[in-house]
Amino acid sequence: VIVTIARTEHLTEAQIIQAVVNRSDLSDDMLEHLATCLECRAEETRLCAALGQLGKMAQASVPKNEMRFAWPSGQSEKGKTGFFENRSITRMAVPALVLLMVVLGTLLINPDQKPHIKEMALHMIDPEQLLSDIDNLLETPVPPEFQTTVSFIEIDPEDDFMQDIVPRIENDPMTHRLKKKGVYIC
């Protein structure tokens, strides 16, 4: 058996406003109260009526409009716009055209550039050859005869040159000094 407790107190001002804005936001007991309480209903109706009147007066304040939507003259069907009407194409084409004109203009003004470009084109490496060279380099980074020179296999750590690069802890002025307790030099 579902027992509903009747709401005895009236809706607050905020709840009346809530009812006007969106009735469905009120809880079920509030809705039930609103349906039965004459005082709360009158309050809600007054506010609704004032807002309704506001809407009516707002509409009446606007001059009558007899105009209808009209296509601008010369507007073509969507998707069938003229080539030059298409803004995105024009936006891309204009800078490309300017760039082309600058390049051509430079070549025309400075004809010495022509043989240089031709020469460059002749000496250009075949891309496939370039890729295979890179692969070779990756597999064998350095020819075997230079491997010992660049690797650390035969390097003597006691060597003066190596001491300069990687000093022993006791020879390192910084670490040695920090290890000492007492007065620092600076």
Binding site: L47, S61, W71
Partner: protein, 207 residues
């Protein structure tokens, strides 16, 4: 027992909504005829909306036309066909903002702005209302402006869209790109102020 809450949620879309959705779908596919139907369906509403915010018939007509052209061009960007109205109002709101920005700029550079010219055209072109009507309109404008001055910017937007333009909360939410709960919060605040504005409410009652 179905409550008002459940009833509202289960409410089916009206035949008009269904028709609008169809027109949007067809217009998105490139049908100009469908877009014309859409435009003529909303033309009066958008014109009114613009007029409230510009108070100029000529500007309202021009801007309304521009809004529909913009909507036609941008229709492909509308993801949810059900939100066409809210989306259209968003375009309109942005266009009104542009209009006021340009107007401010024009005022900076021109001592006698185009507004004066527009107002003259308005007076000449609009059918002259009777003196009582004209007075009521003028008083309504003044009183509503006085009331609006008490609202914050968002409260003003939300209140106008809800009670002047008669938009639903979901449509306002789309138009202002804000959640429905935010819209409701602003509406509550605006309505609390409206409820306590005795002068404005008495004016509306005709006292």
């Amino acid at each position: 027992m179905p409550t008002a809450k459940t009833e509202k949620r289960n409410q089916p879309a009206s035949p008009k909504d269904h028709q609008v959705r169809l027109w949007v779908q067809e217009a998105k596919a490139g049908s100009r005829r469908a877009f014309e139907h859409l435009a003529n369906h909303y033309y009066g509403e958008i014109f009114r909306m613009i007029y409230y915010r510009t108070q100029s018939r000529v500007d309202a007509e021009d801007i309304t036309q521009e809004i529909f052209l913009k909507a036609y061009k941008g229709l492909g960007r509308l993801t949810d066909n059900n939100r066409f109205k809210g989306w259209l109002y968003r375009i309109a709101i942005n266009r009104v903002k542009d209009f006021h920005r340009r107007k401010k700029l024009r005022k900076l550079f021109k001592p006698l702005s185009d507004d004066a010219v527009n107002t003259q055209i308005d007076i000449q072109e609009s059918p002259e209302p009777g003196p009582f009507e004209a007075l009521t309109r003028k008083r309504f404008r003044l009183e509503s402006e006085k009331f609006m001055a008490r609202l914050s910017k968002t409260e003003k937007h939300v209140f106008t869209l809800r009670f002047f333009d008669q938009l639903a909360i979901s449509e306002i939410s789309t138009a202002l790109k804000k959640s429905e709960s935010t819209i409701k919060t602003h509406l509550y605040r605006a309505l609390a102020k409206f409820k306590h504005d005795g002068t404005f409410r008495n004016f509306l009652k005709g006292e």
